[in-house]
Amino acid sequence: MEMKALQKLLATLDVKIKEGPFKIVHPMFGAINTMLFTPGHATTTGPHIRDSIDMKRFMGIVIFALVPSILVGSYNVGAQAGVEGLFAAFLFGFIKLLPIIVVTYAVGLGWEMIFGHINGHDIHEGFLVTGILLPLTLPPTIPLWQVAVAVSFGTVIGKEVFGGTGMNLLNPALTARAFLFFTYPGNISGDSVWVALDGFTGATPLAAAAASTGPAVDALNSAGFSMSDMFFGFVPGSIGETSTIAILIGAAILLITGVGSWRIMLATVIGAYGMALIVQFFGGDVAGGMRSLPPHYHLMLGGFMFGAVFMATDPVSAAGTNAGKWVYGILIGVMVILIRVFNPAYPEGMMLAILFGNVFAPLIDHFVVQANIKRRLNYGK
């Protein structure tokens, strides 16, 4: 009965807000309204019944898949800062992460509300994912005002100028991160930002490998980064990107539910692994640096795994055709290794590789579509 009363209240509010002086908050209200209760619209034409899936569940599952990365990432932020104890370390890290998420949501949803008002639609669910993805790709020490500026850039320039969700060329979360990287590099790269302690400097494994003069694996070992640390995520780095195992659990959720494209994930791994093998084969005589890093290390270092699982697979900015997804994924995998190996100024290649892939995705799809057209023309000949 309380439910019916609540529904009635929501219906009244819906009309009041839509027609009242605060109609700018209606997109936000609409989103909350339909989150509390299903929209309750019946079909009018065929198909008379519809799949139980909607965008809320679709995006909700992505967030669910990010939970392991949030948990392990938070713990690691605390552990890196020297906090003892499982829960204490988690709490320390979560307190660092939470304000970043809050700022991202507050600023991002503000923009979404404005554009929802202009375009006459509710806030779309895609932002809920963007709002978690971005914080997880940032260092724990990131100044919150920079987060606010980056989210604004990512949402407005990365998405809304193209026409909003579904129309954007680039992944909005990565656009925001790239913006930070090029405008405030001091706060998102280098050796002093990864551990949430003032004045503490410590390189990420990626930077350590890039800077090595001897074999990269030796450099990693002597810096104290064991294979298992990198796999479980107990190394300095962006909050959600360090734990390979947590990301793989997320990947399993995305793959089982069919939300994430297995083609893109697999192709990205194949592209990177293959390119790293090639680089190692031809550059094996080089004493140190990235060229001496075995392929499987590449997959665990930096933002590779997080990017391959959560960023490259963004269905809007990725290639949309099934054949195109293979090309797109391999392209990203190859690019990330090329950037890491041949651009010593910038050891992390994943962000740029995916944005590069995003830019080429429409072209890749174009060729797939042309092939379909050609098959149709040639049929029977």
């Binding site: 929209p39 198909p47 008379h48 799949d51 569940r57």
Partner: protein, 448 residues
Amino acid sequence: MGVFKLKKGYDIPLQGSAERRLENAPKTTAVAVQPIDFRGLRPAMKVEAGDKVSRGSILFVDKQKPEILFRSPAAGTVREVVRGERRVIQRVIIDVAGDSAEKFHSYTADQVKALSTTQAKEVLLNSGLWPVIRQRPFSRIADVEASPKAIMISAVDSAPLQAESDMLLDGQEKKFQLGIQLLSKLTGGKIHLSVSAKTKAFFANISGVELHEFSGPHPAGNIGVQIHHIDRIQTSEKVWYLSPRHVAQLGSFLSTGEYPGSKTYALTGSELEKRYYVTGTEGALVSDLLSTTLQNYTQRVISGNVLTGIKSSSLGFVGFYDDMITVVPELEGRRFFGWVRLGLNANSFWPMFLSRLTPKKKLAPTTDMNGEERAFVSTGEYEKVLPMDVLPVHLCKAILVEDIELMEQLGIYEVAAEDLALCSYICPSKIEFGDIIQKGIEAMEKEG
């Protein structure tokens, strides 16, 4: 015999299939012939309210092609010519009384064999049964002047709860064969008859056709899908198609010399008390057919199947091309946090609900949209339910930007709205693929 094993597609696990039991329908009180059942038709009326008609009397003709006749499936009195917006004629309702019938020439198999193409067309046009033949591209009544490269008949019943062809044709093998003989006069090409493992026994002894066996989930039974696999349509080619039931109806007309107004329907759907087959009248009043199995009309009553049927009511009449009625539960209201439910009974193509663990379990989903319209986001899944080399999202985008040339290149000639119905069903963004395809087809027709 061609064998086609289609992998793509999806069978929605629905409760409410009809028992294989045939009964006579309770008395038919009214029938209707509905110009809106024939896409693009503009009727010229030949009767008005109050006129007495026999079974086989002409009710209206096609204004553009007056040789295409529409005859009454029953005798009685014209109750009303119902007009909708802008006075468009929607249906002609006849109150049924008696069974007087117009008499036509009847034909033996040998006499049909002796007919020329022109004579065969004349017989067919005069019978009032020409509209049973439809044409691809565009899925409309066949052009009288066209010479189709093939005629296709699908006895593959893949749609949700679909009436089974052999039940609809019970005891009508001879009539079916006679119908095939008439059809063979209309094309220089082949008559393709597609069957499934279930229906092939019934059609095993039919001659004059090329048999194909299709297996796989819906839409394997759709004519568009079968044309795509047997012999694709290329520029300016036409393929005619009709249902097996209509073939038998042609045969019945030829052998009896009367308009065959009787028709068998499957009564299906979880909300019916009893589900079975009934023999009633073409264009029957829905509430007549359902009078012994549905008491009140608070649920969704559909003429046709759940994917492509038309919403009906107690006052509605079954569509000309429909041979089933489906009744499913109507939406019950808003659900608290519906999007986070575990979904033991959630109908879904996607492996995102617990119901995935019991894929065989039949469900009774309501008419809930289960969401709101969003931008195209998901990719790669629609292809899984479309067993054709067509890119559904790209085709729809071409239609939305009204790029005629691109629509043509991406295969608008090969599809009808029904072929993409499952794309609408599985879509998380609730995009109406069928409506978009329909819009594209109308744009192509306008373009000429």
